[in-house]
């Protein structure tokens, strides 16, 4: 086998180097982003804000409680 042909064959595994480098470089930021998204509560878990008219008496009651 000629050196040229051997080098040509070697390109196959060597082509993985840029991918491995990119993966190593991107991994921390991907992990950070994934953790960030995981920490964020899902829309279903967050209670939707009550309409203003219903919320108002609650606030008033709380304030009255404090006064007492």
């Amino acid at each position: 086998m000629t050196l040229r042909r051997a080098l040509s064959y070697a390109v196959v595994p060597l082509s993985a180097v840029p991918l491995a480098a990119a993966a190593a470089y991107l991994a921390p930021s991907v992990e950070h982003r994934v953790n960030e998204l995981r920490a964020r509560p899902s829309p279903a878990a967050v209670p939707s804000p009550a309409p203003v008219r219903e919320r108002m008496p609650t606030v008033k009651r709380t304030r009255r409680g404090r006064h007492r």
Binding site: Y9, V12, P13, S15, L19, A22, V30, L37
Partner: protein, 457 residues
């Protein structure tokens, strides 16, 4: 195969000689590497899809893209060519030609070398009013072999008219078409027709490899492009019997499946302009409505591809224009086929339309506005490019360096071809062939030279 046509075999095919230990090792590495690469892509997108509740749009887009790309690879693995059941129907091969004096004799000679009963095979060469010596070359071949029938049209009427003339000139059960710049392996026709053993199959697309593989860097890139277009894309579509384009290079149709549509197909008008190209995709659409359409990977043809960059870009733009027109037609009926086939077709159309927007977002918008460098996008593109190259390599008995040009092609596609989609949509009414001077689709006004039919409409 005769000596002349054997000389036309691509270098890629010639490299499929006796393999050494190193070739087996490289193939093994390529297969493992490909599996790891595709698994990595699925795992990466699966990670985001698991977070769909927080970033639904991104998760769904990623899932569609990775399912589409990886899915086609996965589907192409179980694909098998139609089994040889000894079928030998009456076949007519129609070869339309326009100004192909250099290639037509070689192409016709390859048809004469076909391993098929001569009493069941008609060879019809149709000259579409060529201005060079194409008709003379045809007659020379016919003089040497009376099996070849030559039909000469008085003026250039376009490829569809030439094909239709050939169809009307025969009563054969199967109508096969071979481009005038293509040649066939001796067993190609026999293998192509085996799929017609299934009475529901209306058309079968043969495989095409590049004949002039080492003519230039443009042709080297097309070696892998053709391989992927056939051995991955058409093979995946064939699993659902829903191949969306039976290539003009070499395809066969059941007579009863296309004759009822002949006039509609021949006189197709799009946005008020006669459709002069995309004949193969259009004919496939007509058949696909009511029949199964399959691909025969073992029915091999070799075709001459554009060698120059400008010629190649014009060809690709023409293909995208016909893709635009025929995708609109396909989208209207493919949902009635199998769900999986419809999903594959719709995903292909959607991704082709959205891909330029995603590229602009990743390469321009996000770096400029958000300061995010497009490393993930480029790495993803590189991974896809490597996957295509590895798939090509894994199918070669001997190591074939063309795979590297296949990797380069993905970046070439991003630089030049991706953007053609919108230009093709905007200029879909244009009917120029682009790569050859022709008067078909144009109205010639005496004394005034050729005038575009578009301008006349």
């Amino acid at each position: 195969m005769g000596g002349e046509s054997r000389a036309q075999r691509s270098d890629a095919q010639r490299s499929d000689g006796r393999a050494g230990v190193a070739d087996h090792v490289v193939r093994g590495v390529a297969v493992i590497y490909l599996i790891v690469l595709l698994s990595g892509a699925v795992a990466y997108h699966g990670l985001w899809f698991g977070l769909a509740r927080t970033d639904l749009l991104f998760a769904v887009y990623g899932a569609v893209v990775v399912s589409y790309i990886v899915g086609r690879f996965v589907l192409s693995v179980p694909y098998r060519s139609p089994r040889d059941v000894g079928l030998e129907p009456h076949v007519a091969i129609v070869m339309p030609a326009f100004n192909e004096e250099a290639a037509i004799a070689r192409s016709l000679t390859s048809l004469l070398a076909l391993d098929y009963p001569t009493d069941k095979l008609e060879l019809i060469a149709v000259d579409d009013g060529s201005t060079d010596d194409t008709l003379a070359r045809m007659r020379e071949v016919a003089a040497a072999s009376p099996r070849v029938r030559v039909i000469g049209l008085e003026r250039n009427r376009g490829k569809r008219a030439a094909m239709a003339t050939g169809m009307r000139a025969t009563e054969a059960e199967i109508l096969a078409f071979v481009d005038s710049d293509s040649s066939l392996e001796p067993d190609a026709l026999r293998r192509l027709v085996q799929g017609f053993a299934d009475p529901q199959t209306g058309a079968i697309c043969g495989h095409a490899d590049v004949a002039n593989a080492d003519a230039s860097w443009v042709t080297r890139m097309q070696v892998v492009r053709y391989f992927v277009a056939f051995r991955v894309v058409k093979a995946a579509e064939s699993v659902f019997s829903c191949v969306t384009c039976c290539s003009g290079c070499f395809s066969g149709y059941r007579r009863v499946a296309i004759m009822p549509h002949l006039e509609t197909w021949e006189q197709q008008v799009f946005l008020g302009v006669p459709a002069t190209f995309g004949d193969d995709r259009s004919l496939t659409n007509h058949v696909l409505r009511d029949w199964r359409v399959r691909y025969a990977a073992n029915a091999v043809s070799y075709t001459i591809v554009p060698t120059g960059l400008v010629q190649f870009l014009r060809q690709q733009l023409r293909w995208k224009r016909s893709w635009t027109r025929e995708s609109l037609i396909l989208a209207r009926f493919v949902w009635r086929k199998r769900l999986s086939a419809a999903l594959l077709a719709y995903a292909g159309i959607l991704i082709s339309l959205v891909a330029p927007i995603i590229a602009v977002r990743a390469l321009l918008w996000r770096p400029v506005v958000a300061g995010v460098m497009p490393l993930a996008y480029v790495a993803g593109l590189y991974a896809i490019a490597i996957a295509y190259g590895l798939y090509y390599l894994a199918h070669r008995r001997r190591y074939d360096a063309h795979w590297i040009y296949g990797v380069a092609f993905c970046f070439f596609y991003l630089a030049f071809l991706l953007w053609q989609t919108y230009w093709a949509i905007l200029t879909a009414r244009r009917s120029e062939w682009g790569t050859r001077p022709t008067t078909a689709g144009r109205v010639v006004v005496e004394g005034e030279g050729p005038v575009s039919a578009e301008a006349q409409a």
